[in-house]
């Protein structure tokens, strides 16, 4: 069996919940019985500075904990898009939140206004990170749907499970719509792996 390794980077601003999203994604990978390492980088500010979470999911051992050439990139700020789009592997999946990314560097990106659609649907952007996880799951299948659902429920504060489950489903719906809009094309990586 071919050993696979998927490097994921979630990048945006502090306060968007990307590190939490990274932890949830990593926990989902463990539930899928994969090996995983999650790391993060953020500025000294509590909110507003650059923030990124990286997750490496593999069947075998993982040595270096940081992502270098990423298979999946989520950009939730213009700065993140500008800074990291060059790190995407050929055929990698690039998801941009067009609420905060106005200039998208490539037409092959999966462009979804994640934060603004979350605000419309739930009244606040608080759930954007979970919606983004729904988008990632649907577009990349990097973790199974059941594992992600279980990881979300286990990590979010008690009493918010229902809202977060809805957010996850909403993210999947947004991804389906966007993929349909792209004539069914996400990126080549899915085909290469299957």
């Amino acid at each position: 069996m071919k050993q696979t390794k998927t490097e994921i980077r979630l990048a945006g601003s502090g306060g968007q919940g990307l590190i939490t999203a990274g932890i949830i994604l990593a926990e989902a990978a463990i539930l899928d019985n994969k090996n995983v390492v999650q790391s993060q980088s953020y500025g000294p500010e509590a909110r507003g500075g650059a923030s990124r979470a990286e997750i490496i999911i593999a069947d075998g051992p993982i040595f270096f904990p940081k992502a270098t050439w990423v298979d999946i990139l989520l950009a939730m700020s213009q700065k993140a898009s500008d800074q990291y789009s060059f790190d995407l592997k050929a055929g990698g999946i690039f998801i941009v939140d067009t609420t905060y990314v106005n200039q998208i560097p490539t037409s092959s990106a999966l462009a979804i206004p994640i934060s603004s659609r979350t605000r419309e649907k739930f009244g606040k952007e608080l759930f954007s990170n979970i919606v983004a996880l729904g988008v990632i799951c649907e577009a990349t299948k990097v973790v199974s749907s059941q594992a992600l659902q279980a990881a979300v429920s286990a990590r979010v504060p008690a009493g918010t499970e229902k809202m977060n489950t809805d957010a996850l489903a909403f993210g999947k719906k947004l991804a389906k719509e966007a993929i349909k809009h792209n004539n069914g094309v996400v990126a080549e990586i899915i085909e290469a792996d299957s």
Partner: protein, 380 residues
């Protein structure tokens, strides 16, 4: 896939907190500081559950003073900090070395000097951990290079501190402290716990600093009926200040002798692919992760390179190097500082192999590609 091992996602700092609990730490005093805060956060939650005590102090000077006091009272103690706080702790660290107080300080290193880059990785405190407090003193410094080791080395650190009656420092870099990995930790029942030797003679016969055959003196807890004196002055076997040259010599030499006796046990070293190696990468902390990744690819391209992984930095495990020097042409020492362990390697090497350093002080980590490039250059 029959035997089911349960895995969990755990952060390096979380593993330190778990290790402290597993080792029997029952007192923590500290002051939160990035990138070590999670350790205090978790222990604030968990220690009271098991009857332990957590105190947030006014600063790091108070924190180390509190753990010294608690240790004298019979607790197993630990504090966690980062560079700026570690600097404040230096004075009382010296006190603890001379008074022979078991305790553990975790320093999750961030880029310095001063306030530096609070959220960025560095290995800049290696020499501070060795010589930050004044005077000639022995110290034990352990450095984990994975989440699992953060757990295991914390247990080792507590045990060493109890066994040798000496402060032990855990130096972690931010990468290890903050990374999360899939781990499966051993059950509590499998964890070895070492307890300091207590006096068993009548209180009036007790000499608090009279070394037993092991080189370590039994330590009575305050409140147990043994009345004795502890001071930061050089002292005699009764614990009272002395300026007698013979007694002063015995006091200071005794500090070193107990650590020298335990040298082989204290030195945690691992070797990977060293049997036929002509080139070595000597690494610790997060640099082990970069080195391991580089190793795999360098071996594929036919270069006989291995890894010497230091889990103990002080006392410096010179034998780890000396053993392989005859077969080695070059040694690369990648570090997130300007070359602090590199100098130790030079000292031990004494001109035998070619030693090269690879340094980084910009708050980012050295990637495997850079190590590969450097080793290829050296091997050519």
């Amino acid at each position: 896939m029959k035997k089911k091992t349960s895995y969990q996602l755990m952060q390096g700092n979380e593993a330190v907190a778990e290790g402290a609990l597993a080792a029997g730490v029952d007192f923590f005093a500290g002051y939160p500081i990035t990138p070590s805060t999670e350790i205090a956060e978790i222990l604030a939650d968990r220690l009271p559950e098991s009857g332990g005590k957590f105190i947030q102090m006014e600063d790091e000077i108070g924190s180390i003073a509190a753990i010294i006091g608690a240790s004298i009272g019979g607790c197993k103690t630990l504090t966690a900090t980062s560079g700026p706080g570690f600097s404040l702790m230096q004075e009382n660290l010296g006190f603890a070395c001379l008074a022979e107080i078991p305790m553990v300080i975790v320093n999750v290193m961030r880029a310095g000097p001063s306030t530096g880059l609070p959220t960025s990785p560095s290995q800049g405190d290696v020499m501070q951990a060795r010589w930050g407090t004044h005077g000639d003193h022995p110290i034990i410094v352990l450095t984990p290079s994975s989440v699992e080791e953060a757990f295991l080395y914390t247990i080792k650190a507590v045990n060493f501190s109890e066994k040798y009656r000496n402060p032990v420092i855990i130096l972690m870099d931010e990468v290890i402290g903050h990374m999360r990995a899939r781990v499966s930790l051993p059950p509590r029942s499998m964890v070895e716990r070492v307890n300091r030797v207590q006096p068993n003679m009548p209180p009036e016969w007790y000499l608090p600093y009279e070394r037993s055959a092991t080189g370590v003196a039994p330590m009575a807890s305050f409140g147990d009926g043994y009345r004795y004196h502890i001071t930061g002055l050089v002292h005699d076997a009764k614990g009272f200040p002395t300026a007698n040259p013979n007694e002063a010599r015995d006091n200071i030499r005794g500090l070193f002798a107990k650590i020298e006796r335990g040298f082989r046990e204290i030195c945690l070293v691992d070797y990977e692919l060293m049997e036929d190696a002509e080139h070595a990468i000597l690494a610790y902390g997060s640099m082990v992760l970069s080195a391991r990744s580089a190793l795999e690819q360098l071996r594929k391209s036919g270069i006989k390179v291995g890894l010497i992984k230091l889990g103990t930095l002080w006392p410096f495990p010179r034998f780890a190097l000396e053993h392989f020097l005859p077969q080695l042409k070059t040694i690369l020492v990648p570090e997130l500082n300007m070359g602090q362990i590199y100098r130790e390697v030079l000292r031990v090497n004494a001109g035998k192999a070619v030693i090269e350093k690879l340094n980084r002080v910009n708050g980012t980590i050295i990637a495997p590609d850079e190590i590969i490039k450097t080793v290829k250059g050296l091997a050519r």
